[in-house]
Symmetry: C2
């Protein structure tokens, strides 16, 4: 059985999204700065149908995000805007016809909806909570890993419940000043996550924690 992993970009002041998230700016004000390190990589460009891009440490970490992942779990705010048409059958995510996941995605929501297949990715809508979603994702992933795709609230729920085996924070050297924090109110759920390696480029520090790593 694979592990449960969380990989997420965070500002130096701890925000994983800027303030005022919505349809116009899904990452919040300034939130795109968190992802500059990734967008510049060859892996990211290839995933989105582009060419070129940087290789090196950032590219290796970008490749690791989806490498070995057999299923992804995300919150409804990551699938669609907080205020918007996301629950309508018309809303089909942010990613166009070929989402980068290319394995089953389980979307946590209170609104039942039939599965949605786009390219090589099928989105399943799960209405019975984080543990049920994890069970389905594990079954879908088989021996591969389950990735907690975000956003912050969903990631925090899994961390708080002690269900995440490995965390990689991609710390961008920017101060957002406001937004949504990831690493707070985790209770004991994150207590046994220990240092498991750091690599960096001028664009990001990639800090890994793992359960009982030391």
């Amino acid at each position: 059985m694979g592990i449960v992993r969380l990989s997420i970009s965070m500002s130096l002041d701890g925000y994983v999204a800027g303030p005022d998230q919505g349809l116009e700016q899904p990452l919040g004000a300034g939130g795109e700065k968190l992802h500059e390190w990734a967008v510049a990589t060859r892996t990211f460009r290839a995933l989105h149908g582009g060419e070129g891009g940087e290789t090196g440490v950032d590219d290796e970490r970008a490749a690791a995000i989806l490498g070995g992942v057999g299923a992804t779990i995300m919150g409804r705010n990551m699938f669609g805007p907080v205020r918007g048409p996301w629950a309508e059958p018309a809303w089909s995510g942010w990613w166009g016809d070929e989402p980068p996941y290319r394995s089953p995605v389980f979307v946590l929501t209170h609104h039942p909806r039939a599965p949605l297949t786009l390219g090589r990715t099928t989105f399943h809508f799960v209405t019975d909570g984080i543990e049920a979603a994890l069970e389905r994702a594990r079954a879908a992933a088989g021996d591969a890993d389950v990735s907690i795709g975000g956003g912050a609230a969903t990631a925090r729920q899994y961390l708080r419940a002690g269900l995440v085996d490995e965390v990689e924070l991609h710390v961008a050297p920017v101060l957002l000043g406001a937004g949504e924090r990831l690493l707070e109110d985790l209770g004991d759920g994150a207590r046994d996550l220990e240092a498991a390696g750091i690599v960096s480029s001028p664009a990001a520090a990639h800090v890994r924690l793992a359960r009982g790593a030391a």
Copy 2:
């Protein structure tokens, strides 16, 4: 004229001290984990009269903390425990007979006190605010830099006032879960601090920001 620098160790979840700081645990619960990267270095050991220690990235960043510094400013909580005998003439800091600063230190306080010289360091007690302390520190430093030595509240005041030219965060791969945050409520004071470099070891990510670096 030199610049004003802040160099401080921070947990991955943004705390620069653990909870429950006091005479018994000046860094708060778990706070010593923030400084493990530094304590292991040759520079730190040499400063505290020891031998050996690690060289490499962490040692270079440890050496940079005091290198080129002509004066240091610190808050009263960094000079002495929040609840304790610090204001008494008997309290002479945490550092013993030879504090590591070896240049003038200006301690922000509401309690006037005569200067205190220990080894090569003289502590001056400044009662008229952060700008007056900076003016005196600049005069003492001459062409060298002024270092904001901490703790969190003092560092935050200088950041908020837009008086810090360069910040280096030493991000330790640990989650403290609670304590004192540095990077919050900074208003516009930190707005023009931009990425100026990242280096890392498995023990810490050293992230630098500088005024108008880009």
